[in-house]
Symmetry: C2
Subunit: 297 residues, 2 copies
């Protein structure tokens, strides 16, 4: 799975060139070279993500846009996120919006509208982003997750709930031992398994998945046994130090049981490997894909 | 503190009337009556929030816009959030963006840019929302919070970290007993106290506050003792069942030690009390303010 974490200061040169050259109707629509920095940067971000999807889309089943990277460009950034989702869908890719949302029920419903559904207004319905899945933070408990799952499910989509994240700080809370049994992350895994039960399809996999960092391979077996039907979203490969070869336990239910996510190691592969960014990204994505398939088969 | 959770289907009639009547330059700028539903709804949301701020701003020290309610209107909604923040600042109010963000360090930095800072692009700097504070989710641990605190602090702002939320589901994870001592929420409180230590000002209060639901008054004393310098953001009054009279422990450091947040009970006060929305909202806000000050003094 291709992570899309566009940093406006590190876009592929071609995304900037096309932009500077421009004169296209789309470029004129945003106001051309006179447009404010946010609009111009958001335009270049869409081009960058499009080039990246063109280059490695065939190696992937899904893209995972990092919502924060779009939010920092304001309203044009949010519009760019919508456009990138459309491009990914045109390539037949699933879109997992990495927003890590989590809030009380009424607010979770609002997030569900923003990412999966629609919002009624006196002026007509407003379409949400049309994502296929969203990452969600379970700290607020079951009632904060059910509105997201309900809306996702009604659109044939799903949720990936944080269980054990890929960062060193994950240890601060998620690895705390509970008085009963296991760690906080084990409790989160039980919540995921319960909420996912009604969403298990013919494949044996559920529409409620789990985010389990590739940087904590020693937790994988226990978490897999607590969540036998969950698709594991496995971030942390590459830039964060996780290795695909350590993830076998995640793929216990078969090749579709795990989604290996890589962002910077693909988008910036040319920094290490040289060559043009698209070619380097394609090679790196192909390499990761092969490794993941070997594990799952 | 005034929560701004605008529901496009329940805006004050005057926000809709002004809008329909319009013909103002601002209305024409969005495309007038021919504009798409999202733009028209976002325009009405700004008017609604402006009317609400005009009505009760003097009773408050801060507004707390719920980011989800703006996101569901897409790019125009994000622009509306920016406009509402400007209006609140014009009234001398602090702005606490209720986004409950939480992510790994590089992404937390992107959120910090979106809410507090700026983003460098090849076309110039893009300004963030200019919020004074943000609510943050600590499930990912210390390294997910430090970029947010760093950026907020450099702008004289702060962070409110979820410790014990106001919803029933808070019990599912936050109330779990740890093997060592206390509950998960006590662990979160220790993190808040540690991170807030360097940010304690002359007032004795820190720039790292805590979200502690008004619906769990029995937890207040312990959490206050773990976080003596934290400002408590206390949601859950009114619609969620919390009562101001139960919150004395939160105000131990003085009247500024707690921020009582109310949204729907103010914006929709006229549903129960009758009269015009602005007057009913003003009365309800004044009543809450008096109760809170009595507790703090």
């Amino acid at each position: 799975m291709l992570g899309l974490d566009p940093n406006p200061a590190r876009l592929w040169p071609r995304a900037l060139c096309q932009f500077e050259g421009a004169g296209t109707p789309a470029f004129e629509r945003i106001g051309g070279a006179e447009a404010p920095p946010a609009a111009r940067a958001a335009f270049a971000v869409v081009l960058h993500c499009t080039l990246l999807i063109d280059a490695v889309g065939e190696q992937c089943v899904a893209v995972k846009p990092q919502v924060a990277c779009f939010e920092r460009l304001g309203a044009p950034g949010w519009a760019a996120l919508g456009e990138v989702i459309v491009r990914a869908h045109e390539h037949g890719l699933l879109v997992i919006a990495d927003g890590k949302r989590g809030d009380i029920d009424v607010t979770a419903s609002a997030y569900a509208q923003a990412f999966f559904g629609t919002t009624d207004t006196p002026y007509g319905q407003v379409e949400g982003l049309g994502a296929d899945a969203l990452t969600a933070n379970p700290l607020l408990g079951v009632d904060s997750l059910t509105p997201l799952i309900g809306e996702a499910r009604s659109h044939g989509g799903g949720l990936f709930v944080l269980v054990r994240t890929s960062n060193p700080g994950a240890a601060d809370v998620q690895d705390e031992s509970l008085a009963g049994e296991g760690m906080v992350s084990d409790r989160l895994a039980r919540i995921v398994a319960e909420l996912g039960e009604p969403g298990i399809g013919a494949s044996g996999l559920s529409d409620v998945g789990a985010v389990v960092g590739a940087t904590a391979p020693d937790r994988l077996a226990a978490l897999r046994s607590a969540m036998p039907a969950a698709i594991f979203l496995l971030p942390g490969i590459g830039a964060q130090g996780g290795r695909v070869g350590d993830l076998a336990a995640a793929f216990a239910p078969g090749p579709a049981g795990g989604l290996v996510s890589a962002s910077r190691s693909i988008a910036h592969a040319h920094d290490q490997r040289g060559g043009d960014p698209a070619g380097a990204a394609r090679d790196q994505a192909a390499r990761l894909r092969e490794l993941a398939w070997e594990l799952g088969s």
